[in-house]
Symmetry: C2
Amino acid sequence: MRVDANELQRFFRPKSVAVVGASVKEGTVGRALIENLIERFRGRIYPVNIKYDEVLGLKCFKSCRDLPEPPDLVVVAVPARVVPKVIDECGSIGSRAAVVISAGFREIGGEGAKLEEAVVKMARKHGMRVIGPNCLGIYSPSVGLDTIFNPSDRQGKPDAGPVAFISQSGALGAAVLDWFTEAGLGMSKFVSYGNAADVKEYELIEFLADDEETKVITAYLEGVEDGRKFSESLRYAAGRGKPVIILKAGKSVKGAKAVSSHTGSMAGSYRVYESAIKQFGGLLVDELSELVIAAKALSWLPTPRGDRVAIVTNGGGAGVLATDAVEKYGMRMAELTDDTQKALRNELPSAAAVGNPVDVLGDAPPERYRKALKWVIKDPNVDALVVIGIMQSPAFDPEGFIEVLREASSGVSKPVVIAAPGGEYTSDKISKIEKLLHLPAFKTPEEAVRALSYLMRWRKVVERFGKG
Amino acid sequence: MRVDANELQRFFRPKSVAVVGASVKEGTVGRALIENLIERFRGRIYPVNIKYDEVLGLKCFKSCRDLPEPPDLVVVAVPARVVPKVIDECGSIGSRAAVVISAGFREIGGEGAKLEEAVVKMARKHGMRVIGPNCLGIYSPSVGLDTIFNPSDRQGKPDAGPVAFISQSGALGAAVLDWFTEAGLGMSKFVSYGNAADVKEYELIEFLADDEETKVITAYLEGVEDGRKFSESLRYAAGRGKPVIILKAGKSVKGAKAVSSHTGSMAGSYRVYESAIKQFGGLLVDELSELVIAAKALSWLPTPRGDRVAIVTNGGGAGVLATDAVEKYGMRMAELTDDTQKALRNELPSAAAVGNPVDVLGDAPPERYRKALKWVIKDPNVDALVVIGIMQSPAFDPEGFIEVLREASSGVSKPVVIAAPGGEYTSDKISKIEKLLHLPAFKTPEEAVRALSYLMRWRKVVERFGKG
C-alpha cells in the first residue's frame, strides 16, 4: 500500500461521526445528513450546532470541543467562512478525518481560494485528512455511512457490492450513483471529492486498489493536479488486479474551458491523459453510458483468455450486427472447431447456420439454444460469447432462455453477454436476466459486444501488469 | 414519382385482402394473419384454405379462383412449393399485389432459388407485384393492415405517425418495430421485404418519398442488388425532403460472410455503400440504437439553420460532457451574444456561468431554467439547444421543468433535446418529457448531442438537394 491505509480508512470505517451544521429544518443538508446516519449508520452520531440542544432525538453539541470523544469522522456542512475554524476545533480534540460538503471555496475564486488554503493549513496542523470541500462526500454501504443528502425518492443508492466510484463532480456523481442503482450494480464505496483540497484522486485510487470490498474502480475526472502521481496510482491498481475505468471530461477545447468554469481545475490536453491512462493500465471510456456498461462487464464477468468471440442467435440480422461489432471493437470472430460444427450440424435443424455466428433460427425453443450453447461454450477456440434472443418470435420462451443461460454460464470462466433488441416485453426480460444471472444484457448487439471489449482491454492490461 | 405509385399503393391501401393459408389452428401464421385483420383492417377479408369452410367467423374459400372479387392484396402463407401456383391463380383472377410470407426460397439455395424464379415469372405474367418471399410483410396502421404475426403481448406495434421503416430482415424488423413502439415513435408504414424477389428496396424508398404519411424513412439493409438504382432512390428522397436513415449490416469481412448465410444477398464493400449513401443524400448510421435516436430527432424536431449548439444545465459536469460531444460530432458551441450574456448575468445568481454552457446551478428551480431558456433560445447565434436536468437535486422540480421546456420549445424553429442522467426516477421523467412534448430525451449528454448531429447532417443534405 502506497498511501497510508489507516489515514483513508478512517473515512470509510468510522465508529463515530459528528455532523457540524446538523439541523432540524426540513430541506436542509444538515437535517438530511442526520436522517441518513440515523437510518443506516451503525456507529455513534453526534450532531453539532450551536442553535440546538437536540436534533431528531439525538443530543446536539454546541461545538466539537463539547463532544464526549473525538469523532472518527467529521462531516462539515456550515458556511465556507466558518469551515477553517471547525477544522481547527475538530483537529484540536483529536479528530483525524473530515468531509467538507460546504461550497464557496476555490471554485468561486479569490476569497474562496484563500478560505480553502486556510482549511488545508488547519488540517495539516492537526494531521487531519480532508475530503472536499464543495462535494457530496461519501457513501459506504457496508457500514451504512452516507453523506449524500439528495431526497431518497429521486436519489437511488446501490446495495453493497464490488464497484467503487469516485467523482470530481458532485451532481454528476449523484446521477451516476442513481444510474448504478437502477443498473443493479453493487457498490463498495462512492466518493465525491470535489475540490480535492487535501485528499487527491490518486490517493483514493490507491486506497481502493487495496480495498477488499472493491473489485472495480470507476472514476469521473475533469482534471488532475499531479499527472505523475495519478499515473502511478493507475499502475498500482493494475498491478493489484483492479481495473480503473475512467471518464475524462474536458476533452475538447471548449470542454476544457467549461471545466475551468465548473470546478476551477485545469482539464489539460486530452491526448496526454489518453496516452498516460493507456500506458499505466487505466481503461479510458469515451461516454457516460460506458462507465455503466464497463462496470457491469468488469464486475460481473470473468476475464477472458483471449479475444475470440462466438455468437449464438435466433435472428440472422442481429447476428450480422454483432459480427460487425466484433471487428469494430478490435476482437476476432472465433473459428469453431470441426468437432463443434459437426455436433451442431447433428443437433440443430438443417437450415441452422453452424459457422460463427451460429443461427439457431427464428423458431428456436430453449432446447435448441441449450444444444448450441453446450458445444459452443466448451469450444477451445472460443474465449467469449454473445447470446442473442429475438424475443418477439412466438417460439421464444424467455423463462427457458434464462434457464439455459444460467446453465451455460455457471462454472464457466468465459464471459457471456446477452443482446435482445425490442420494446417493453423485451426490456422487462433484459432486466430479469441481469437481476437473476448477473449477465450484462443489452438492447443492441453492438452494446453487448462493446461490453466484451472492456474485458478484452482489461485482459491486455493484466497481461502487462500481472494479476487479475 | 419515379416508381409507379399505383403499383405499390395497392399494397398499402387495399380495400380487400385475401389470406391464402388462413387457418383456425392456434399458433399458426395463417390464424394470426386473420386475427390481425379482423381486429384492425377496415376492408373486406377473404380467408383462403381448401381445408375450411369458415375461419374465425369468416367464409373461407377453397381457392383464389372462388373469390367473389379479385382482392386488392393477397397475403400468402403456404408452403414454398405451392406459392407459384397461388400467384398464378391470384394473378389470373386479376389481383395485382401479393405479400409472400412463406420461407424456403432463395435463402435456402438450390431448389428454393428455382421456386423463387417461378414466383417472379408468374407475377410478371400477370403484371402482379410481389413483396417477399421470406418476410414478415406489411404494417400500415392508418388502414389497419397488419401481416406481422408475432403474439401481441411481445410484439409492440406503433400508432400511426410519420416514420416509415423497411427491413431486409424479418426478425430484426420485428424487433425494431417493437422498439419504435416503446420509444413512442409513430409509424406510417413498415415493410419487411425479405428476399426482394420482385419489389426492391429502392422502389419502396421512392414510394415512401412520395407518401404523404411519411416524413422520415428508416431502413435496415444487408445488401442491395442494384447499387445505381438504390443510390438514385436516396437522391430522389432527399430531393423530396425525406431523410433516409440507413443501418447497413455486413460492414466487416466476417459480417459480410454472415450476411450471405443469412439472406443469401451480397453485402458488398461497406466503403462503397458508405460513399454512395453519403453522396446521394442518405444518412448512414453505425449501430442499431442510432436508428431509433435518429428517427426520433428527425421526426420530432425542426431542421436547424446551422450547427451552433447552446447548452443549458444545472450540473457543470454534464455540461462539460455535452460540450465535448458537440465537438466530437462535428458541431460548434454557440457564442452567445453580449445581449444574451448581459441578460443572463442580470437574471441569474452571481455564481451561474453565463457563457456556453450556461450553468443555472444545482439549486435551480424551474423559474431559473425559464429565465435562461428565454434568452438563449432567441439568441441569433444559437441554432440548437441541449437542456440538461440533473434530477437528483432537491431543488429540481420535474413538473415545472416540463412546463418550462414546453414554453421554450413551442413555436420555435430550433431543435431542443434533453439530457438527464440518473436512475428510475429520472427514467420515468424522461419518458414523460418524450411523451408529453415530443422532445428527444436521453440519459446521457452525449446521446442528446448525437441526436442533434443527425439533424445537422440532414441540414447539409437539404442544402445540397433542396427542400426539407
